[in-house]
């Protein structure tokens, strides 16, 4: 067996936390930060190397590692294909930026915070790479714990309420998924995803199993009406926590929908597509309208996240090439843009200690550099052509249009609404006259902040103009995935007759 690159990616951050654990924290905590940064950066480099050696033309799983774990029952099996690799890179890309951003936000127990972030990184990479349902479940649920701690310990004033709400919601959904995984083992005799792809799951169980998986993914996405934990969690979480939550945690569900709901239960997916369409469209319109009326910046962006993830679920269940590729693209794009928007809110929150929109206004006069990056991400969230946001949304809607006109028409209205709430937010915060005295002494972005925000802004714009780099990676896998899906559906239909 070759060098186990995927396992290395998963384990490296955890190994790093052991180092962190034994470092004595000095006054300024610099050494801790540098170690954490070093670890996350080496993981980023490793993942970029993985991307480099990844074979675009090969549709099957690559770098697969398969080890016996629990004798004869469960194997530790990991591997990647075109669908998962981008999420791995998104994770390793976002985490170093999170580590860099803790300078201002985390006032106490910095070491513990960084350890939580790194453990989180391990778990999330694990989610995107695991090819065994049990392994997936462990990583998927494990991710809850560090996030729960991040909100509960370093959060704002209502942190305990939010942390429990988050935990309750996600756990309730996941319990059903665990039951489903166990029953899949009883039905099919294995939890190995690639094997399950080949043998398929008996149709008569598919609907129930699909619903069980759905209950978990829908909460994590989050879909309407189980989205109410997200605004609370975001508002209370520290900036770095919000970034992780929005950029990566939400993507686990989208990824899960593609890999497991579509992949394992094609017949059920086909059956439940209308349900997803309706919930997604409600999410898009409903949360956009709610976002319009928010008074808290973080809450506004949290609601806009729900709307954007509504596009993602919509695109996935169009089950067209454009729809699914658009969804993956939208998830990457949302990972960059929402992360950046939360950081943007964090920037002014650190300086002025309020997130209420009405406490701001006219920032452009004293923070021009901030105004520029904030504008870039605002436009990205609006879905302006030339940013990644456009390509995701447009492809999703294009895919949707091929399946259902009415859904596409209503969902497209969301594009108007997103422009309304984002531009209105920007206008109220950044434009206008600088009247309030406490704002007049704010300082513009520091070098550190400029670096973080521009490293998110550049890919947002670059991939908006040249998305081909990403499409090249996912194209073959998606084509293959869809062929498999079509094949399964057709066998089902022919069996039925």
């Amino acid at each position: 067996m070759n060098f186990p690159i995927i396992s290395s990616l998963i384990i490296l951050p955890i190994v790093g936390t052991i180092f962190l654990f034994f470092i004595k924290s000095n006054e300024k905590n610099t050494s801790i930060k540098y170690v954490a940064l070093f670890i996350s950066l080496s993981n980023l480099i490793l993942s970029l190397y993985l991307w480099y050696i990844f074979d675009n033309t090969n549709p099957s799983f690559q770098f697969v590692e398969n080890r016996q774990w629990i004798l004869g029952l469960i194997n530790y099996k990991v591997g990647i294909d075109g669908i998962s690799i981008l999420f791995v890179i998104l994770t390793t890309f976002i985490v170093p930026l999170c580590v860099l951003s803790v300078n201002y936000t985390i006032k106490y127990r910095l070491k513990d915070f960084l350890i939580a972030i790194l453990i989180m990184e391990s778990l999330m990479i694990g989610v995107f790479c695991s090819l065994d349902l049990v392994v997936f479940y462990l990583f998927f649920e494990g991710g809850l714990i560090p996030m729960f701690l991040i909100i509960g310990i370093w959060g704002g004033s209502r942190r305990v309420y939010s942390a429990f709400k988050f935990f309750l919601y996600t756990l309730l959904g996941s319990v059903l998924m665990l039951v489903a995984i166990i029953s899949i083992y009883w039905i099919s005799g294995t939890t190995d995803v690639t094997k399950l792809y080949e043998i398929g799951i008996d149709q008569k169980y598919q609907n129930l199993l699909w619903l069980a998986f759905f209950s978990s993914f829908a909460v994590k996405t989050p879909m309407w009406p189980v989205h109410t934990w997200l605004p609370d969690a975001h508002v209370e979480a520290p900036t770095a926590g919000s970034v992780l939550l929005a950029a990566i945690l939400l993507k686990m569900a989208g990824y899960g929908f593609i890999r497991f709901s579509l992949g394992l239960f094609p017949v059920a997916s086909e059956y439940f597509t209308p349900l997803i369409f309706i919930l997604s469209v409600i999410a898009i319109i409903y949360t956009s309208l709610v976002a319009l009326m928010q008074e808290d910046m973080k809450k506004l962006i949290a609601y806009s996240s729900v709307a954007h993830m509504g596009f993602v679920t919509l695109g996935i269940f169009t089950i067209t090439q454009q729809g699914i590729e658009g969804s993956i693209f939208q998830m990457i794009s949302h990972g960059l843009i929402s992360a950046a928007l939360f950081l943007c809110v964090g920037v002014v929150y650190d300086r002025n200690h309020t997130r209420l929109i009405k406490d701001y206004g006219g920032l452009v006069s004293i923070m021009p550099k901030y105004a520029i990056v904030f504008m870039i991400f605002t436009l990205g969230a609006v879905g302006l052509p030339g940013t990644t946001g456009f390509i995701g949304e447009f492809l999703i809607l294009m895919g949707t249009f091929q399946k259902s006109f009415i859904t596409a028409v209503i969902a497209s209205l969301g594009v108007i609404l997103s422009a309304a709430y984002m531009l209105w937010l920007y206008k109220r915060v950044v434009f206008g006259n600088l009247i309030k005295d406490n704002l007049k002494k704010l300082v513009d972005l520091s070098k550190n902040e400029i670096f973080i925000l521009w490293s998110l802004a550049l890919p947002t714009v670059f991939f908006g103009f040249y998305p081909e780099l990403l499409f090249k990676t996912i194209d073959v896998s998606i084509t293959n995935f869809l062929e498999m899906y079509e094949f399964n559906i057709n066998t089902y239909l022919s069996n039925k007759q």
Partner: protein, 634 residues
């Protein structure tokens, strides 16, 4: 060369935005102006190449989106149609760049302003040189966002910010239709490239599609959806409300974006898609009607407005209406002709009004002006030329294009065509009235401004007047010079405009030909008499027809209707969903409810653990005897 035309403005914008403040604003002004200037010269070369050497090309710059069978490239397509647009865009843009150096000389954010202008130019060029609908959409939204930046350029002004957002949102409504149109095109044809789509149109011309329970022709539907986009961008009736408000932006912006280039993108779209529109007579009729209504409506409102820029804005709206009903009656080339001439005289009028506003220290109300023609003779003279050209005074550029539109509407031979011709003539008369009203109230009569002494009114610097002179020359000659070119299908337009039935070669009767010029000429003394000599007459008219006057003054109450019917309900529903549904329903019965239930139950459960041994013993005894009983019964 094509690369340079498109990318020089972008380079200028990037340098100006990132290094403008380092090198000083002078450099970024010069740099952007020179780069756009070069781009303009190259565009002229391309234009003449197209005229004389039948030059055509389609350059693929890079791959853009390749997803399954959707394959879109970044491209630069040059044909007769795009070469005309190239000339209009780069020429006006370069003149506006130069003019802005003077107009914005007191503004601290000049590099940013120049960067926006150049960025706009780039987006507009990307729009016109596209060979597919998606890049067109990129340019379409790109110019929209630049327009948003520029309208809101004076970010401290509350009204400017509101106008900027309004412009963006109304355009988004249009873009919503446009995007659906593109989806439908992709759904039917599996491609979004012009050529591939256009060749597949004739076979499906009569096919129907079931869309939202309506059974309509698929070509009709495509045309309708695309036209919604065009209505938004070109400020046509129903979606026009953003254009007058957009005048909050600096005047050079109004000249470039809201007169000469961006707002004509809708016309360009319809002309570009002539191979589709030709197969949809019903939508062409619809376009004719919308064009007619817009032309008439905007002109009627313009008559009673007092803001110099708003009058010209409504006039733009009205002229765009002309262009649309020209396309509606199948005279795409004439629409392009009017677009071409209009760019010159309308940019001239805007920049001229900018010069007036500059002289009056940012005063825009024409009731606060008057009697200054001797003080600013050059501006006065140039504004007269612009007005003559706009109203279609014989031998100036507007005369050729506007009369051609009215003639072709007449020659269309249908009742819609006749109606369009009548509306066209009447609107031409109204146009003339409000344009001369503007001139007379601004330059003649009594001096009405109380803030500034008349002697302080001064002429603008050369950097502002020279571009005006160039535009004035253009306004005089382009109609006459290019008249034949724009009528020439065999040698000029060729494939870039498609006609199902060739345009009529006949000539309308002589009385019809002289009708418009006569009305236009007569209106000069009429408006002089009404608005200057016997200004009581106009007051009396306003007073005696108060409801009508107010109706026009308030722009047919469109803003108010939208406010009450769309914006407020949206806000209300939003807060209802948030506080009502999210807070009171989902949370109450969801997580909060569950945790409350658990709490209640656990409080009850707590009571079991009282700590008294005798209670535990009693329960154990009870349980034991229960089990025993069951066992015995079994």
């Amino acid at each position: 060369m094509e690369y340079l035309i498109v990318f020089l403005p972008l380079i200028g914008a990037i340098i100006s935005v990132f290094f403008g403040n380092k090198f000083g604003s002078k450099y970024s002004e010069l740099l952007t102006s020179i780069l756009v200037g070069i781009s303009a010269i190259l565009s002229l070369i391309v234009f003449f190449n197209v005229i004389y050497h039948n030059y055509e090309s389609n350059i693929i710059v890079a791959k853009w989106i390749y997803s399954g069978n959707l394959q879109v490239n970044w491209s630069i397509k040059i044909d007769a149609l795009s070469s005309v647009m190239l000339v209009v865009v780069t020429l006006v843009s370069s003149l506006v760049h130069v003019y802005s150096i003077g107009y914005m000389s007191h503004d601290p954010h000049k590099p940013r302003f120049m960067a926006y202008l150049s960025l706009f130019t780039f987006s507009m060029l990307a729009l016109v040189t596209s060979d597919n609908f998606l890049q067109l959409f990129f340019g379409w939204e790109g110019v929209g966002v630049c327009s948003y930046f520029l309208i809101g350029f004076w970010f401290k002004k509350e009204s400017a910010n509101a106008a900027a957002i309004k412009a963006f949102l109304v355009n988004r409504v249009g873009d919503f239709g446009f995007a659906l149109g593109i989806f439908l095109i992709f759904y039917i044809f599996g491609t979004v490239n012009y050529d591939e789509v256009f060749t597949q149109i004739p076979p499906i011309a009569n096919e129907k599609i079931n869309f939202l329970n309506l059974n309509i022709g698929s070509v009709d539907l495509i045309c309708f959806l695309l036209f919604i986009g065009a209505m938004g961008k070109s400020a046509q009736f129903i979606l026009h409300t953003w254009l007058p408000d957009a005048m909050e932006g600096p005047t050079p912006v109004s000249a470039l974006i809201h007169a000469a280039t961006m707002v004509t993108a809708g016309v360009f779209l319809v002309v570009r898609c002539s191979p589709i529109y030709e197969y949809s007579p019903s939508i062409l009729t619809f376009i004719t009607f919308i064009g007619m209504i817009t032309a008439l409506f905007a002109a009627s409102v313009a008559v009673v407005q007092n803001d110099i820029k708003k009058i010209i804005a409504y006039s733009t709206c009205s002229q765009l209406g002309y262009m649309f009903f020209a396309t509606g009656v199948g005279a795409y080339n004439i629409a392009m002709f009017h677009l071409f001439t209009h760019a010159f005289f309308k940019a001239l009028l805007f920049l001229g009004s900018g010069s007036v506003i500059h002289s009056f220290n940012n005063q825009q109300d024409i009731n606060q002006m008057g009697g200054v023609w001797k003080k600013i003779p050059l501006t006065y003279f140039l504004m007269i030329i612009g007005t003559l050209a706009l109203t279609g005074f014989p031998l100036l550029s507007g005369f050729y294009s506007k009369d051609a539109i009215i003639e072709f509407a007449y020659l269309h031979g249908t009742s819609v065509g006749y109606m369009a011709a009548i509306v066209g003539i009447f609107t031409a008369f109204l146009t003339s009235i409000y344009s001369w009203r503007l001139i007379f109230k601004t330059f003649h009569g009594k001096y009405n401004n109380k803030d500034i002494e008349i002697n302080k009114i001064h002429e603008s610097p050369y950097v502002m007047t020279v571009p005006l002179i160039v535009l004035a020359i253009g306004s005089i000659v382009v109609g006459f010079v290019f008249k034949n070119l724009f009528l020439d299908f065999d040698n000029f337009w060729k494939n870039s405009i498609f006609l199902l039935n060739p345009l009529s070669q006949e000539h309308p009767p002589f009385w019809f030909l002289i009708l418009t010029p006569t009305l236009v000429t007569l209106s000069i003394p009429i408006s002089y008499l009404i608005f200057i000599k016997y200004s009581k007459v106009s007051d009396y008219l306003a007073e005696s027809n108060k409801p009508l006057y107010l109706f026009l003054k308030n722009k047919w109450y469109f803003d108010e209707v939208y406010e009450y019917s769309i914006i407020n309900p949206c806000k209300k529903i939003g807060s209802y969903f948030w506080r009502g549904v999210d807070g009171l329903v989902i949370d109450k019965f969801g997580p909060d409810g569950i945790s409350k239930l658990i709490k209640i139950f656990s409080l009850k459960a707590v009571k079991f653990q009282s700590g008294y041994i005798y209670q535990y013993a009693f329960i154990m005894l009870l349980g034991f005897s229960l089990i025993l009983t069951i066992l015995i019964i079994n």
